[in-house]
């Protein structure tokens, strides 16, 4: 399924639960959607860098199984952006459902 435009929101949602590294974020999105939301993992990092530039996430060095990893965590402004995205998404999904006669 096409994720265009929604990837940053999904990333923020994963990071709101716990700080993670890129691979974990990608797997979490795929698992949470039962594999329905599939995306090319190489595009995850530009999205993370954009969120970092906007101040929605911050990165830090961590280790996993003795291996250095770059972890990301959500910031206060990231939580605000996520709440805003959630509200917008509910509005859009309600509107589309109404038009399609699903609601």
């Amino acid at each position: 399924m096409n994720l265009k435009g929604t990837l940053p929101t999904l990333v923020l949602e994963v990071l709101a639960r716990q700080p993670s590294h890129g691979y974990h974020i990608a797997q979490k999105i795929k698992q949470s959607s039962n594999g329905l939301l599939d995306f090319k993992e190489g595009t995850l990092y530009p999205a993370l860098h954009k969120l970092e530039n906007e101040g929605s996430v911050e990165s830090y060095e961590g280790t996993e199984n003795g291996r250095a990893r770059r972890y990301y965590r959500i910031t206060q402004s990231g939580r605000k952006a996520l709440n805003q995205d959630r509200a917008e998404w509910h509005q859009i999904s309600r509107a589309v459902s109404t038009i399609l006669g699903v609601a």
Binding site: G22, Y23, A26, K40, Y45, A47, K50, N53, R67
Partner: protein, 211 residues
């Protein structure tokens, strides 16, 4: 060259050295984790490597998205070059004093020519004095905050466009084209700075992005 090397080679094209290092490191970590997970699921090493690279997708798409959020090599070159110019002005005392005194001298000459009814000369001196002041004095001005930087940039563009109108009068449209052609490197630098201001968070702006 492994599959991953080929992928990375395309994914870091045109990125600055630091940006390319960041991308390489993150993708390598991602690849290692994906390969390890596949191996733990009993997949043979060659297929695991192939799957890990396949999951990354098209390197050209990743590269195009990275170039929108990370510094490119040409932007890094602009930063480096501007740093060198700035250092050259600030490091040499005589250059520094010349840069500080020339705009004032030109503006004074403009006033003298105006008093002598030499309007064309007065206009020329006024424009060159204002341009020199706007371009060479920033290292000595306290403009390195977000709001002051914005004010400085607004004044800079007003002086630039206003200067063309003062110099060329009714023929300003051709004058703007002439200025654009003659000072193309300057406009190119401005364009690159604008792109960098959009990409980098304000907390990471080097001094020259305030200009």
């Amino acid at each position: 060259m492994t599959n991953l090397d080929g992928w990375l080679h395309q994914a870091v094209r045109s990125l600055s050295k630091d940006s390319a290092d960041t991308v390489r490191r993150e993708i390598q970590e991602h690849y290692d984790a994906a390969r390890e997970a596949a191996l733990n699921n009993g997949i043979d090493p060659r297929t695991a490597e192939h799957m890990a690279v396949q999951a990354l997708g098209d390197p050209c798409v990743a590269n195009s998205q990275d170039r929108n959020v990370l510094l490119t090599s040409s932007e890094a070159a602009v930063l480096k070059q501007s740093n060198t110019e700035s250092r050259m002005i600030c490091a040499n005392n005589w250059v520094k004093w010349m840069m500080l005194s020339t705009p004032g001298t030109l503006l004074l000459l403009s006033a003298i020519f105006l008093a002598a009814h030499q309007f064309a000369l007065s206009r020329g001196m006024l424009v060159f004095g204002a341009l020199m002041a706007i371009f060479f004095m920033p290292p000595f001005l306290p403009i390195y905050t977000v709001s002051r930087g914005r004010i400085y940039r607004a004044i800079k563009w007003i002086v630039l466009i206003g200067g063309v109108f003062v110099l060329f009068g009714m023929d300003s449209r051709n004058g703007l084209w002439l200025a654009l052609c003659c000072f193309f490197p300057g406009f190119f630098t401005e364009w690159k700075r604008m792109m960098m201001r959009r990409k980098l968070p304000m907390s990471k702006w080097p001094k020259q992005l305030y200009l």
